[in-house]
């Protein structure tokens, strides 16, 4: 390796990237090496992990066969007014030090992301996908990062070069050993659905509700005694969901990237996420948080489904925090140090027992609950959350004869209808950025939910008898729109509205 003679001291500039939530911005790492007492400081609102970069960088530089200057070294992360977190600046700072001391002959000219080990190895960091996408948006298309992160950066659209060590990085930039860009990884192969509808006997109405939820992204609550197949039904949902489109895949993958949950070989999500947090989950786990704010389950389920089994067992406080993300489709986590916004557009599926003992309405075992206890059990689910439930369906215990029947339809066949219905929604909502009937605005409900005579008579009757509020009507119409879309009907027919009303419980 040729090491250029020390040049006159100058300021080196290396590009890196900082992340706040999914928002990424380029950060210029400026390194100045000046005469004075030996010192190394990092300025520009670094957090603890960034400040600790000094020790890692010093050791990595030395252990890679370079010389760490016994002079006054200052690294500045510009713009300096926003707080920066994480270990992803190590590589950029080290390259800056080498460049400022003339040990690196050329400016890297790429986005540099990576943590350094003390022996000079380059380690992967979280959140590469949103950082690379941000950099591409700002005109930087070349990325230098760890080998583990390279596929992710390539998938995000960059010319990504993965390096194993700091020496490799220097050799590549200096042109001594040029490394080839990492090829764009093939998309992950969607896994076969874990549960096929044909494997579930009976339960025709719950399956229908599942189909409607999948097509229109409506929220669904399954209620029934223990062991009747609520969880099985919920697990059949992912198989019904349409594939991710390109935009959704990138955003959903970016959330997983920030959470450090990306498969290095297949960084782009292929199937819609299905997240099933346990009922002991804290609100931090569910909606995200911490400092710096990390995404929670509701964001990891973005563009997919969030399954809450044993709904009343979740703490009420935790469920209440779900309100905002369910309403807005995103969640903003504000902390003293930083605020982050994560997407959270999910199809909510929940399951619960009908009463504390679980056997209300169960032919196999008598319910031993007092009426007030049942009432308290349901009251644990706050009104605002239950308001968000579009479909409420009873999953009864089946008699032996029914259990012996196989399901009538396979997941594949039902999914065809879901895809066709989504296509109808897409053509209706084209250009609005919204994709499903669950997201129809009130004005759009008025435009797109034309009723035939039967449906009109039923809606009139419902309004007249005051069993439905105006808001309730809109919710029911969105579901009825999906039922009609599944039947490829442009108008909402009486039967479509009837089913929507029935599944809503006309409450």
């Amino acid at each position: 390796m040729t090491i250029a003679p020390p040049a006159a001291t100058s300021v080196a500039r290396v590009t890196s990237s900082a992340l706040w939530g999914l928002e990424a911005a380029l950060v210029t790492v400026e390194v100045d090496v000046a005469n004075g007492l030996p010192a190394f400081s990092v300025v520009g609102l670094p957090d603890a992990a960034v400040s600790e970069a000094r020790e890692r960088v010093r050791a990595a530089v030395r252990n890679s066969g370079f010389e760490f200057p016994l002079r006054r070294v200052v690294a500045n992360l510009a713009p300096a007014e926003r707080r920066k977190e994480g270990s992803g600046f190590d590589l950029a700072i080290a390259l800056g030090v080498l460049r400022a001391t003339g040990q690196l002959a050329r400016d890297p000219g790429t986005l540099c992301l990576g943590e350094l080990a003390l022996d000079g190895a380059v380690r992967p960091v979280r959140g590469v996908m949103p950082r690379v996408r941000g950099a591409i948006g700002a005109g930087v298309t070349d990325v230098l990062c760890s080998e583990e992160n390279a596929a992710e950066a390539a998938a995000a659209g960059a010319r990504a070069v993965g390096v194993a060590t700091l020496r490799d990085a220097v050799a590549h930039i200096a042109g001594v050993t040029r490394l080839a860009p990492t090829p764009v990884p093939p998309p992950a192969i969607p896994a076969r659905p874990a549960v096929d509808l044909a494997d579930i006997a009976g339960h025709e109405t719950p399956k229908r509700a599942l189909e409607i939820a999948a097509a229109g992204a409506h929220s669904l609550l399954l209620i029934g005694p223990p062991g009747t197949g609520k969880t099985l039904l919920a697990r059949a949902l992912p198989g019904l969901l349409p594939p991710l489109d390109a935009d959704e895949a990138v955003v959903a993958s970016a959330v997983h990237s920030v959470a450090g949950l990306v498969d290095p070989a297949r960084p782009l999500l292929a199937a819609r996420p299905f997240r099933a947090p346990h009922h002991t989950a804290s609100h931090l786990a569910l909606v995200g948080g911490g400092s710096p704010p990390r995404p929670g389950e509701v964001s990891l389920a973005h563009a997919g489904a969030l399954f809450l089994d044993e709904l009343p067992e979740f703490s009420r406080h935790v469920l209440d925090t779900l309100r905002e993300p369910l309403e807005e489709g995103s969640i903003t986590l504000s902390r003293a140090a930083a605020a982050a916004t994560y997407p959270a557009r999910v199809t909510l599926v929940a399951a619960m027992n009908p009463c504390p003992c679980g056997h209300a309405g169960d032919a196999a075992a008598p319910c031993t609950c007092l009426p007030d206890a049942v009432e308290r059990y349901h009251a644990r689910l706050s009104g605002p959350l239950m308001d968000r439930i579009d479909l409420r369906v009873h999953v009864p215990r089946l008699a032996y004869e029914e259990l012996r029947e196989r399901g009538r339809e396979r997941t594949r066949d039902v999914r065809e209808r879901v895809l066709a219905a989504r296509e109808r929604m897409r053509s209706r909502l084209g250009g609005t950025g919204r994709r499903t009937n669950a997201e129809l605005t009130v004005a759009e409900v008025r435009t797109h939910c034309g009723l035939d005579d039967d449906a009109d008579a039923l809606a009139r009757e419902a309004m007249r008898s005051r069993r439905l509020s105006a808001r309730g009507v809109h919710r029911v119409l969105r579901v009825a729109r999906t039922v009609a879309d599944l039947a490829a009907s442009e108008r909402i027919r009486g039967g479509d509205l009837a089913l929507a009303l029935l599944l809503r419980g006309a409450a």
Binding site: G202, H203, E204, T205, P206, L221, I223, G224, P354, C355, A360, G361, P366, T368, C369, L370, P371, D372, E375, R376, H378, A379, R392, V393, H394, V395, P396, E402, D454, L458, E461, A462, S465, R467, L468, G494, G495, L497, A498, L499, L501, L502, G505, A506, A507
Partner: protein, 274 residues
């Protein structure tokens, strides 16, 4: 709220039938209700869908026939009876097992909204001075008062051990006719009621005509969906199976009944008659 001592002309004469009539009763509501013809409907707190329907139908029939419904305002059958009487446009007396102010202050849930309705169309009654709280013996005393205030007692669903059986015994002791509604074979909620019939201590009540005398029995169940739900709530799939009906035409029918208020959806999604 007024207090009626035994010397008060408004003190209900029927209570004097008891071996130990209360010295004083507190009445919150209309005291004239205490003199009107009355039927007591009592039963278990752990009622089934069947019991709820029967209690309600008997109470509706009483309301239609002009009889006041007397009960104990407990969860389950008692509340279903009060609610039925009020929904039927009738009057009802709730005899509570503790002092009225304490009961009113502590009652929660579905029974709470019944309090003002009962005050307006009937009365809350207690023989206990504030601030006495409910205890085992206060309920026994209360049950005797229920038996005395009514001209007849109907037991709808009582388990092997149930306060409703005490009411039945007290009624027999003072010569009030006792009826019990027969329950399904093996239903623990009806074990006590069935035993009353089996041991001859109560007459089996099979239609409200026997109770009120004369008049054709009210028969509402001409709609097959309502008829299929007579034994308690069902989910839509189970309903379709029992009726051997096509699911989509059934859905339309059920939706119409829902919006008309003839059916209601339980929180767990099953359907019940109103």
């Amino acid at each position: 709220m007024i207090a009626l001592g035994r010397g008060d002309p408004r003190y209900p004469a029927r209570l004097r039938d008891l071996a130990h009539p209360p010295d004083e009763i507190w009445v919150d509501g209309d005291p004239t209700t205490l003199e009107a013809p009355a039927i007591a409907i009592v039963g278990t707190r752990r009622m089934t869908g069947y019991g709820e329907r029967v209690a309600r139908e008997v109470a509706l029939a009483c309301a239609a026939g002009g009889a006041v419904v007397v009960s104990g305002f407990a969860q389950g059958i008692d509340s279903a009876a009060h609610r039925g009487a009020l929904d039927g446009g009738g009057r009802t007396i709730a005899v509570v097992g503790e002092s009225i102010p304490l009961f009113v202050a502590t009652v929660r849930g579905r029974r709470r909204p019944l309090v003002p309705r009962i005050r307006e169309h009937g009365a809350l009654v207690s023989q206990f001075a504030a601030p006495l709280a409910a205890q085992r013996w206060t309920f026994a005393k209360r049950n005797a008062t229920i038996a005395a205030l009514a001209g007849a007692v109907v037991v709808v669903e009582a388990g092997e051990v149930s306060g409703a059986l005490i009411t039945a015994e007290e009624a027999r002791a003072i010569g009030r006719p006792v009826y019990a509604v027969p329950g399904p074979w093996g239903s623990s909620a009806s074990a006590g009621a069935n035993r009353l019939i089996a041991t001859g201590r109560a007459r089996a009540l099979t239609s409200v005509r026997e109770l009120l005398g004369g008049g054709p029995a009210a028969s509402r169940a001409t709609e097959p969906v309502l008829d299929a739900l007579r034994d308690g709530p069902l989910g839509i799939d189970e309903l379709a199976r029992r009726m051997r009906a096509d699911r989509s035409t059934l859905a339309s029918r059920v939706a119409l009944l829902l919006v008309r208020g003839e059916l209601a959806a339980l929180p767990d999604g099953r359907l019940r008659r109103t």
